[in-house]
C-alpha cells in the first residue's frame, strides 16, 4: 500500500529524517516506537504533506503513485488519514459541518457525487455510537474546549467517517485515561478490514495492548534502527530506550 | 490663548539667557523651536481627542509663578517621609526644580547619577545624541518642557554595568510664595546590557496649588534592563503632567510601574517605542483615588519591530467624587510581525459619584500577531463577598480584602521588596483596611 524508500527530511537547517525505509501492506498494523525527538511525528507529517518540512531525498509511494507532488488534501482524497497528536481548534465550525465538508470535498476530489444528507446523518449516528460519543458532540465547535480525551476520540470519529485506506495514529494514546483508551482502541479495531492499514506511532507500549501490531519498528535519530514482531514492543517496555540509544550511539 | 500660556511665553524671554545649557547652540535651538510649537498650539482643551475626558481649565487658571527659586530651608527631616527610609539608595533631590546637593547622594563612579544641568555642560555630545529624541515634538506639554526645563535627573549606565542600588529621584515643590509651575526633566540612558532601578516621586509641600510639567526620556540599548517605579501620592492641590517616553532596542526589558493615590489632577502620558527585535515592555498601574481627584492614564505601545512583547495591566479603584480615565493604545506596525501584545484595564467604582472613562485602543497593521485587550468596569463579586462573610469576616473587612486583592494583582512585577511593602501599606490605608490578613 505505502512504500517509503530512503526518506530524508529537514525543518529549516535541522535534519530530522535520515533515510527511512518502511513498507505497509493492506490489512497490516505497524507500530512505530521511539524516544522523544526521534522523528516520529515528523514522519507522519511528511507522509500527510505538511509544508513546514522539506523533503531532501527518497520517495513515498502510495498504491503505485508518487506522493511527493501532491497537496495535503489530494493525499487525503487518496485515502491517507492522520490522527493529529494535537488536534487543531476551529472556533465556530461544528464537528458535523466540518466532517460533512471533509467527506464531500474528498468525494469531489475523487469525482464522486456529494453524500446524501440522510445517508450522512445515518452514518454520523452510527459512528458516534461506535465511539460511545454523545450526539451533542456534533454540534460543538471543532475541538474548541474539548478535553484531551474528547479531542482524540473526535479524531477517531473522523477516521470512521472518512474510511481511509491508511490511517496514521500519531500519539493517539497521549492524554487518554484508561477508559477513553479502550474506547478509542476499540473503535480503531472495529474499523479494520483486509483492505486498510494502520500505522500507530507511540512512545509507550500501553496502546499496543489494545491495538495489536503485526510489526514493530524502532525509530531513533531519524532512522528505523530495529524492526520485529509484537515482542519487540514488550522488550522496549521492559528495558526502556536506553539500550537502543547505547547500541546506536 | 490662556493667561498662563501668555505668562509662559513672556517669561521665556526673561528666563532664556539664564537657563542651563544656554551656551550650547543645539540646545538653544531646541528650546526656541519647542517654544514656537507651544505658542502655535497652546494648552489642549476637551475638544482635543487626547484630552476629551480631562479638563485642564480649572488647574490652568491659577496665577502660577513660573521662574522658581531653590529653597535652602528644606531639611532632611522634611523629606524623610517621602523617601523609602529603610532602603539604601542613590538620591537625587530637587527643590523647585533646582538640585539640592546637601540632600542628595550622587555619583560619577561607574555610572553617572547626576543632574541634567550638569550633563548639559559636561556631556554636550550625549545631550545632542539623546535629548528630545525620545519625547515626540509637537506634543504641547513636551514642547513646553523642552523650552523651559534646565534641570532634573541625568542617569547614564555604561555597557554591562549594573547599578548596585536603586536610584531615588524626588522632586519637591515648596510654595509659601503662592502657586508654583515647575518644569523638570529626566534623561535616563541604559547602555548595552546595563541594568538600573529607579524610583521617582513628585511632592508638593504646602497648601498652595502646584503644577508640574515633567518629561522623562528613557533609552534602553540592546539587552538593557530598566525598572522604573513612579509613586504618585501628592497633595490635594498638586497637578502633575508626566510625559515618560521609553525607547527600546533589541532584547531590552523595561518595566514602568505607576502607582497613583494622590494629587488633584494627574495625567500620565507613558509611551513605549519598541524599536528593536524581541524587546519586552511592561506597564503596570494602580490607581486609588477619592473626592475631587482626577487621574488620566494615556499609554502608547508602538511596536515597530518584529517579535516584541508588551504587557499592560492597569487597575483602578474609584471612591468619592473621583474621575478615572484610561486610554491605552497599542500600535503594531506593518513590519512588526509576531508581536505579542496584551492589555488589560480593570476598574471598580465604589461610589455613585465616581466616574470612569476608558478607551483601550488597537491599531494593527501586521497580520501575524497576537493582540488582545480587555477592559472591565464593575463591582466586587457578590458570591466571593458572601463566601468571605460566611467564614466570619465582617462585610467591611471582606470588601477591603477583596478590593485590596483586586489592586495588588498589579504589584507582581515590583522587584524591590521594600517598595512593594510600602505600596501595600498605602493601598491598605487608602482602602481603610487592616492589613494583617492581607499580607
Amino acid at each position: 500500500m505505502i512504500k517509503i524508500n530512503n526518506l530524508q527530511a529537514r525543518v529549516e537547517d535541522k535534519e530530522i529524517l535520515k533515510g527511512i525505509n518502511l513498507e505497509v501492506n493492506p490489512g497490516e498494523i505497524h507500530a512505530i516506537m521511539g524516544p522523544n525527538g526521534s522523528g516520529k511525528s515528523t514522519l507522519s507529517s511528511v507522509i500527510a504533506g505538511r509544508e513546514d518540512y522539506e523533503v531532501t531525498g527518497g520517495s513515498i509511494d502510495f498504491e503505485g503513485e508518487d506522493l511527493m507532488d501532491l497537496d495535503p488534501e489530494e493525499r487525503a482524497h487518496k485515502g491517507i488519514f492522520l490522527s493529529f497528536q494535537y488536534p487543531v481548534e476551529i472556533p465556530g465550525v461544528t464537528v458535523s459541518n466540518f466532517i460533512k465538508t471533509a467527506i464531500n470535498e474528498s468525494r469531489k476530489g475523487r469525482g464522486e457525487e456529494p453524500m446524501k444528507a440522510r445517508e450522512m446523518l445515518a452514518k454520523m449516528r452510527e459512528k458516534t455510537a461506535l465511539l460511545e460519543m454523545d450526539k451533542s458532540y456534533l454540534s460543538r465547535s471543532l475541538n474548541e474546549g474539548f478535553s484531551g480525551g474528547e479531542k482524540k476520540r473526535n479524531e477517531i470519529f473522523q477516521m470512521a467517517m472518512l474510511e481511509p485506506k491508511l490511517a496514521i495514529l500519531d500519539e493517539t494514546d497521549s492524554g487518554l485515561d484508561i477508559d477513553a483508551l479502550r474506547i478509542v482502541a476499540g473503535g480503531v479495531n472495529k474499523l479494520r478490514t483486509a483492505d486498510n492499514a494502520v500505522v500507530v506511532i507511540t512512545h509507550y507500549q500501553r496502546l499496543l495492548d489494545y491495538i495489536k501490531p503485526d510489526f514493530v519498528h524502532v525509530l531513533f535519530n531519524g532512522k528505523i534502527v530495529k524492526s520485529g514482531g509484537p515482542e519487540l514492543a514488550h522488550e522496549l517496555e521492559e528495558k526502556g530506550y536506553d539500550w537502543i540509544k547505547a547500541e546506536n550511539a | 490663548m490662556t493667561d498662563l500660556a501668555q505668562d509662559l511665553l513672556s517669561s521665556f524671554v526673561v528666563a532664556e539667557p539664564q537657563l542651563n545649557g544656554s551656551r550650547n547652540l543645539g540646545v538653544v535651538h531646541l528650546r526656541k523651536e519647542a517654544l514656537d510649537r507651544f505658542e502655535a498650539q497652546g494648552f489642549p482643551t476637551t475638544r482635543d481627542e487626547e484630552w476629551k475626558y480631562t479638563n485642564l481649565k480649572p488647574v490652568l487658571k491659577h496665577d502660577y509663578r513660573i521662574l522658581l527659586k531653590g529653597d535652602d530651608a528644606v531639611s532632611f527631616a522634611d523629606i524623610k517621609s517621602y523617601l523609602l527610609s529603610d532602603l539604601d539608595t542613590y538620591k537625587l533631590v530637587f527643590i523647585n526644580g533646582k538640585y539640592s546637593s546637601w540632600l542628595s547622594d550622587s555619583t560619577h563612579q561607574e555610572f553617572d547619577v547626576c543632574t541634567f544641568a550638569a550633563a548639559l555642560n559636561k556631556y554636550p555630545d550625549i545631550i545632542a545624541e539623546y535629548l528630545g529624541k525620545g519625547a515626540p515634538k509637537g506634543e504641547t506639554f513636551v514642547d513646553l518642557n523642552t523650552a523651559f526645563a534646565d534641570d532634573g535627573a541625568f542617569i547614564r549606565v555604561k555597557a554591562n554595568q549594573t547599578v548596585d542600588k536603586p536610584i531615588e529621584i524626588l522632586y519637591l515643590t515648596t510654595n509659601e510664595n503662592g502657586p508654583a509651575f515647575s518644569q523638570v526633566r529626566n534623561l535616563i540612558i541604559a547602555e548595552q546590557n546595563a541594568e538600573v532601578q529607579l524610583l521617582e516621586r513628585h511632592q508638593n509641600i504646602g497648601d498652595q496649588p502646584s503644577f508640574t510639567n515633567f518629561v522623562s526620556e528613557v533609552f534602553a540599548a540592546r539587552d538593557a534592563r530598566v525598572s522604573y517605579y513612579k509613586v504618585q501620592n501628592d497633595s490635594d492641590e498638586a497637578t502633575l503632567v508626566d510625559n515618560t517616553h521609553v525607547v527600546q532596542k533589541e532584547q531590552s526589558n523595561v518595566h514602568v510601574g505607576t502607582y497613583t493615590f494622590g494629587g488633584k489632577l494627574v495625567r500620565n502620558n507613558l509611551h513605549f517605542y519598541s524599536a528593536g527585535e524581541r524587546a519586552e515592555s511592561h506597564m503596570d498601574g494602580i490607581t486609588i483615588i477619592g473626592d475631587g481627584q482626577t487621574v488620566d492614564h494615556h499609554t502608547l505601545v508602538d511596536h515597530q519591530e518584529p517579535n516584541c512583547y508588551s504587557r499592560e495591566l492597569y487597575k483602578g479603584i474609584y471612591l468619592g467624587k473621583s474621575h478615572g480615565i484610561f486610554n491605552g493604545k497599542v500600535m503594531v506596525r506593518q513590519k512588526a510581525q509576531k508581536t505579542n501584545a496584551f492589555q488589560q484595564n480593570d476598574n471598580i467604582l465604589l461610589s455613585d459619584k465616581a466616574k470612569v472613562d476608558t478607551k483601550p485602543q488597537l491599531e494593527i497593521f501586521a497580520d501575524d500577531v497576537r493582540c488582545s485587550h480587555g477592559c472591565t468596569i464593575g463591582q466586587l463579586d457578590r458570591n466571593a463577598l458572601f463566601y468571605l462573610r460566611s467564614r466570619g469576616i465582617p462585610k467591611r473587612e471582606a470588601e477591603g480584602l477583596m478590593t485590596y486583592a483586586f489592586a495588588a494583582d498589579a504589584l507582581e512585577y515590583v522587584k524591590i521588596p521594600q517598595l512593594e511593602k510600602r505600596l501595600n501599606r498605602v493601598i491598605a490605608e487608602k482602602l481603610g483596611i487592616n492589613l494583617e490578613f492581607a499580607l
Binding site: - | 470612569v356 497580520d367 468596569i377 464593575g378
Partner: protein
C-alpha cells in the same frame, strides 16, 4: 497562507456590477432651496414636510463634514450630486406585469426576483430603485393586522400624523452632517408601523439599489413598533458598478415602545470599487433606535461592500429593563475602508447591551471598529458585554479598534474584550489533511469566525450573507 491566494483575494470582482437602462426622471445636479422645494413638490408633500426639509437644509449649511473617523476619501462635491431621480413609469402598478421588464431582469440577476421571493419565502418586499418605490407586495395580508408597510412618500401622504410625530425624534435634523443633509433632501425610503400587541407575521424586507449615474441616494426609513409589538425587518443592498464615487447617506430611525421588539438586519454589498481602489460607493449612514420600557432593539449587519463605510447603528436604552444588541460582520478588501460600530447609551435602570463585532481585513483595506458604551448617572444595574475581534489576511491591511467606555454609575458592569488574529497555518493544514482544499478551508474558518453574528440573521438572509462573505473574499474563500 500562500501568496497566490492572497493575490487572488485582491483579484475578486464585484459580481453584481452591471447597470440597467431605465429612463429616469432626474433633477439637474446641485443643491439649494429651490431643489428642495422641487423635490417636495414632485412628491406632492404637505407644507410641514417642506418646512421641515428647509429647516434641515439651513442647519446643514452651518455644519462641516466630519473628519474624526479613520477613513480618507475625496470629499463629495455636493453641488455635483443630483438629488432626485425616479424611474419613469405609470402612476400605479397593480401587478408585476406592469413593472418595466428590464427592471425585473435586473432583480433576477441579483437573485431577488419578486416572484420567487413572494412564492417561496413569504417575504413582503418594498422594492426601492433609485429612491422611489415601484412595487409593494403582501400589503393586504399586513393590512389585515393593521400593519402599515409602505414607502416613505406614501406614508407622508397617507399617514401624515404618524410620520410627523416620530420623524426626527430619534435622529434629530442637526444630529450630524449627513443626517442633516438627508433630512433636507431624502426622496424616499420605507415606513413601517406595527400596532399595539401585534406580532408581524413575516419578515419585512427592502432592497435598495443605486441605479442612476451620479445620483445621490438619500433613503429615509422609519420603523415604529407600538407597545408590545414585534417586527423583524431586513434590508439588503446591491449597487451596479460605476466609475465615479456615489454617495449614499441614509437615515434609519427605530422606535420601540414599551415591551416592543425590533430586529433590524442588514446585508450591505454596495459596489466597493475596483482592485485599484477606483470608484465605489460612499456609505455614510446614521442608524439609531430608541427603546422604551422593557423594549428591545437588535441590529445585525453583514457589511461587505462600499468603498468607504461610516456607520454606527445605535441604541438609546431609555426605558427601564430595555435591551440593545449589535451583531456585526464587516469585511474589507482591496482599498475598502470601513469605520463602523455602535453606541449603546444606557439611561434606564437594569438596561442591558451586547456588542459582537467581527472585522475581517484583506488586501490593502482598513477596517475600524468604533464603539461607545455609556452608562448614565441614573442607569442603575446597567450591563454591557462587548467582544470585538479582528482577523487580518495579509500584511498590507489594517485593523483598528476604538472602543469608548464611559461609566457613571457604581453598579455598572461592563466587559470589553478584543482580539486580533489570523487564520493559522495549522488550522489550514488540519483541514487539508481531512481532504478540504485551502480555499474551502478558509471559507469554513471565516464562516466559523463570523458564526455568532450570522446566527442572528433570519434563515434566508443568513444563506445570502454567507454567500456574500465568500464572494467578497473570493479566491481565498471559494
Amino acid at each position: 497562507m500562500s501568496d497566490e491566494i492572497l493575490d487572488e483575494i485582491t483579484a475578486s470582482d464585484y459580481k453584481y456590477g452591471f447597470t440597467t437602462d431605465i429612463e429616469s426622471d432626474t433633477v439637474p445636479p446641485g443643491l439649494n432651496e429651490d431643489v428642495i422645494r422641487l423635490i417636495s413638490e414632485k412628491k406632492n408633500e404637505p407644507q410641514w414636510m417642506l418646512d421641515w426639509r428647509l429647516d434641515a437644509y439651513k442647519t446643514w449649511l452651518a455644519m462641516v463634514e466630519p473628519e474624526w473617523h479613520n477613513v480618507t476619501y475625496t470629499k463629495p462635491d455636493f453641488q455635483a450630486v443630483s438629488y432626485y431621480s425616479a424611474p419613469k413609469q405609470k402612476k400605479e402598478l397593480d401587478s408585476l406585469d406592469e413593472v418595466d421588464p428590464e427592471l425585473l431582469r435586473t432583480f433576477e440577476r441579483l437573485g431577488i426576483s419578486l416572484d420567487e421571493q413572494k412564492r417561496l419565502s413569504g417575504v413582503a418586499m418594498d422594492v426601492v430603485v433609485d429612491s422611489v418605490s415601484v412595487a409593494t407586495t403582501f400589503k393586504k395580508t399586513l393590512a389585515e393586522k393593521g400593519i402599515i408597510f409602505c414607502s416613505m412618500s406614501e406614508a407622508i401622504q397617507e399617514h401624515s400624523e404618524l410620520v410627523r410625530k416620530h420623524l426626527g425624534t430619534v435622529i434629530p435634523k442637526r444630529d450630524n452632517f449627513y443626517a442633516a443633509l438627508n433630512s433636507a433632501v431624502f426622496t424616499d425610503g420605507s415606513f413601517c408601523y406595527i400596532p399595539k400587541g401585534v406580532r408581524c407575521p413575516m419578515e419585512l424586507s427592502t432592497y435598495f439599489r443605486i441605479n442612476e449615474a451620479n445620483t445621490g441616494q438619500f433613503e429615509r426609513t422609519l420603523v415604529i413598533a407600538d407597545e408590545g409589538s414585534y417586527v423583524s425587518y431586513l434590508e439588503g443592498c446591491t449597487a451596479p458598478s460605476r466609475d465615479e464615487n456615489q454617495l449614499h447617506a441614509a437615515v434609519v430611525e427605530l422606535v420601540a415602545m414599551d415591551n416592543a421588539e425590533i430586529k433590524y438586519s442588514t446585508v450591505q454589498n454596495w459596489y466597493p470599487g475596483d482592485a485599484e481602489g477606483k470608484g465605489g460607493v460612499f456609505n455614510f449612514v446614521t442608524k439609531r433606535g430608541i427603546c422604551e420600557r422593557n423594549a428591545k432593539i437588535s441590529w445585525t449587519q453583514v457589511e461587505t461592500g462600499s468603498a468607504v463605510t461610516w456607520k454606527y447603528p445605535s441604541c438609546i436604552l431609555k426605558g427601564d429593563n430595555s435591551i440593545g444588541e449589535f451583531y456585526s460582520v464587516a469585511v474589507t478588501n482591496n482599498y475598502q475602508q470601513a469605520d463602523t460600530g455602535t453606541k449603546m447609551i444606557h439611561l434606564g435602570k437594569n438596561t442591558k447591551s451586547t456588542i459582537i463585532s467581527k472585522g475581517i481585513s484583506a488586501g490593502k483595506s482598513h477596517n475600524s471598529y468604533r464603539g461607545l458604551v455609556r452608562v448614565g448617572a441614573r442607569a442603575e444595574n446597567a450591563r454591557n458585554f462587548s467582544q470585538c475581534d479582528s482577523l487580518l489576511m495579509g500584511d498590507q491591511c489594517g485593523a483598528h479598534t476604538f472602543p469608548y467606555i464611559e461609566a457613571q454609575h457604581p453598579t455598572a458592569q461592563i466587559e470589553h474584550e478584543a482580539t486580533t488574529s489570523k487564520i493559522g497555518e495549522d488550522q489550514i493544514f488540519y483541514c487539508n489533511q481531512r481532504g478540504i482544499g485551502t480555499e474551502e478551508a478558509i471559507a469554513l474558518i471565516v464562516n466559523g469566525y463570523c458564526k455568532d453574528v450570522l446566527n442572528q440573521l433570519p434563515m434566508e438572509f443568513a444563506v445570502e450573507a454567507q454567500k456574500l462573505l465568500e464572494v467578497s473574499l473570493e479566491g481565498s474563500v471559494g
